[in-house]
């Protein structure tokens, strides 16, 4: 008898506990790893401030889009905007909300960590395998102050598909026609030379341990690992150091209404050329799969917060804050989100 009573008591406890959990909304997202350090900081702060939990799984942009299309998450995250073709295949209209800017940087392992300058042509030729050695005339010409070793350049790239690779190859394809023809742009490409490493940590790890290595990685990871970062010449021929300010400068160009734009090699004098937006994706019409209105409203509130108050978290983590124009475009898009045909934010 007593045992039966105990079982009933536990069951009822579970029942009531789950009831009280159900009242609390937990938003679920999945996608890009590139902004993950920032998102985890943002979503933790959001939980502390509002009590709303946001569960973001950094499974990669492709996975995030796939999960959004399969309706298993509330929002997706992606470093590359969805193509018109991909948007056409989705079950409903998908919106892109820019959340921050990130930079892909070139890190290297040279004795004494000298400050290196590179141009788009040199980077493309190194990654095409045409410039093979550090003491190549073209590199030493623009770096007269440093003594470059007479050793091979060990090219490091990502082995896994990634938004970082997309930004890097997109930039090279824009500035170098040979790269565009031979390799092209994509989250994974057929690399002419070099070693692959998994993830930003893998690339930084390999650069750190391989003398003569040169690779691309996300700015935050390079700085976190104490790796030197090369200055890169932009469209105006200036050598720009990647920083939150110079990254945000890249977004000072005219943005389209849906914010789907590649801002590599941006047409701005002080812009760092390998910059990119990263986006959160959601459906324009939120009343799908019997989702309660509450959930949709919380999602919209979260996105508003991410594009406004939460921008203060970007710079300490080496991401570029959204410039004013991008925030305004984001506002327009967030305001256009509907539930059953009615706008959620008035």
């Amino acid at each position: 008898m007593r045992a039966l009573f105990a079982i009933l008591l536990t069951l009822s406890l579970f029942f009531f506990a789950s009831l009280s959990w159900a009242r609390e909304v937990e938003l679920v997202g999945a996608g890009a790893t590139f902004p993950y350090p920032l998102y985890s900081k943002m979503f933790y702060s959001y939980w502390r401030a509002t009590g709303i939990r946001v569960n973001y799984q950094p499974i990669g942009s492709g996975g995030g889009i796939r999960q959004l299309v399969n309706l298993t998450v509330d929002f997706g995250g992606s470093d590359a905007f969805m193509s018109d073709e991909a948007l056409g295949k989705a079950p409903a209209r998908i919106l892109h909300i820019p959340t921050c800017l990130g930079a892909v940087v070139l890190s290297y392992n040279l004795q004494g960590n000298p400050g290196l300058k590179l141009t788009a042509e040199i980077v493309a030729d190194i990654f095409l395998g045409k410039i093979k050695r550090w003491d190549d005339r073209r590199i030493s010409e623009i770096n007269p102050d440093i003594s470059l070793p007479d050793s091979d350049i060990v090219v490091i790239h990502r082995s896994d598909g990634s938004g970082t690779t997309f930004v890097f190859t997109d930039y090279l394809a824009k500035v170098n026609s040979e790269w565009d023809e031979k390799v092209g742009r994509g989250k994974a490409v057929s690399w002419p030379v070099g070693l692959g490493a998994k993830g930003n940590p893998g690339v930084t790890g390999l650069i750190k341990h391989l003398p003569g290595a040169l690779g691309y990685t996300e700015l935050g990871y390079a700085l976190l690992n104490g790796l030197p970062v090369a200055l890169l010449s932009n469209k105006y021929g200036r050598y720009i150091e990647p920083s939150p300010v110079s990254i945000s400068q890249a977004a000072s160009v005219n943005l389209p209404g849906d914010t789907r734009i590649s801002i590599t090699n941006a047409d701005a004098p002080l812009a760092y050329p390998m910059s990119s937006f990263t986006w959160l994706l959601l459906y324009g019409e939120q009343a799908y799969k019997k989702r309660p209105f509450e959930r949709a409203a919380e999602l919209v509130k979260l996105l508003w917060w991410v594009t406004h108050e939460a921008q203060k978290y970007t710079e300490p983590l080496h991401y570029g804050p959204l410039p004013e124009q991008a925030v305004m475009r984001g506002e327009m898009i967030i305001k256009s989100v509907t539930y059953d045909g009615k706008r959620i934010l008035q």
Binding site: M1, I65, S159, G184, K187, S190, W191, L195, K198, H209
Partner: protein, 306 residues
């Protein structure tokens, strides 16, 4: 109430009724069938999911060295070569060590503290997560290989086929060794005693009686180890260099089937890309089956009938 129940349960240790016997048999049968069905289902879903790629590339998939996600042209030769090369090289490296451990523990020092210590440590190797092996490879082994490469005058990458094979060989030693030890310990003592009584030395008994008798079991252990090596992902991907080229030597970087799947699956956009990765999975499945069949045939051939 509770007391009554426990007394009853303690009272009679009954023989199981015929009914529970058949139920027991059924449970065994169902459990066994579930495994078989699972394997067949995996094969079937692999075939179905890789259909777009099979249709697009046909047999060319198995002969093409191109792996270009941008222009959607895919071929598996590079990864097949990397997998086979690293696995067999690992096996070659692991063989003398695992054989020595099996003989040492199985025959020479069966009861001593040293042998039990050795046994525990080898088995411990099997329990270490592969990512740990990967890091060990990256931070300890790769610098050593790089020094070696510098002395030999080849490009000092450090990562590559050799590093991957050495890491793999350490990982598979416990599989080969533990089965080897079991079968060596199972060699009938009358056979060994007969050898000694004819004046054979211990070494002669080991090489002429124990090893021939146990060789099918030792081979089975090696086969299990090879299966493990073929499918290993994480540790390999961390030290192989992930270059999609056919390795030109043991110092060259390369890539394996399991590694490319793990690397590219999450971001594989496009149906053909995804399907090609799954076809690589299918190919890995087929390679494992073929090697198992060959192994089975070899084991049958070398089994000693007494």
């Amino acid at each position: 109430m509770a007391n009554v129940f426990s007394n009853k349960a303690r009272a009679l240790p009954q023989a199981p009724s015929p009914l529970t016997q058949t139920a027991f048999q059924r449970i065994l049968l169902i459990s066994a069938l579930v495994v078989v069905i699972l394997v067949l289902a995996i094969l079937l879903s692999l075939i179905i999911s890789s259909f777009p790629s099979l249709k697009a590339f046909g047999l060319n998939f198995f002969f093409s060295t191109t792996w270009d996600p941008v222009s959607s042209r895919f071929g598996a030769v590079v990864f097949l070569a990397g997998t086979l090369l690293t696995s067999f090289l690992a096996l070659l490296i692991c063989l003398p060590f695992s054989l020595a451990i099996s003989i040492f523990i199985g025959e020479y020092f069966r009861e001593r503290i040293l042998s039990s210590l050795l046994k525990q440590v080898t088995e411990l190797l099997a329990g270490i997560p592969s990512v740990i092996y990967g890091f060990w490879g990256l931070f300890v082994l790769v610098p050593i290989v790089r020094n070696l490469e510098m002395k030999l005058g080849v490009l000092p990458y450090g990562v590559g086929i050799l590093s991957a094979s050495v890491v793999l060989s350490v990982m598979i030693v416990p599989y080969a060794a533990s089965i080897g030890r079991e079968v060596i310990a199972l060699v009938p003592s009358d056979l060994k005693e007969a050898g000694y009584s004819l004046g054979a030395t211990r070494q002669e008994v080991v090489t002429k009686i124990i090893l021939p008798y146990a060789r099918s079991g030792i081979l089975a252990g090696i086969l299990l180890a090879l299966g493990r090596a073929l499918g290993e992902t994480m540790a390999v991907t961390m030290v192989i260099g992930n270059s999609n080229i056919i390795p030109r030597g043991i110092f060259s970087p390369g890539n394996t089937m399991a590694s490319v799947i793990a690397n590219e699956f999450t971001e594989a956009t496009g149906a053909l890309y995804l399907s090609s990765l799954i076809e690589i999975g299918l190919l890995l499945f087929i390679v494992e089956v073929i090697i198992n069949l060959i192994g089975r045939y070899v084991i049958k051939r070398v089994t000693v009938e007494v």
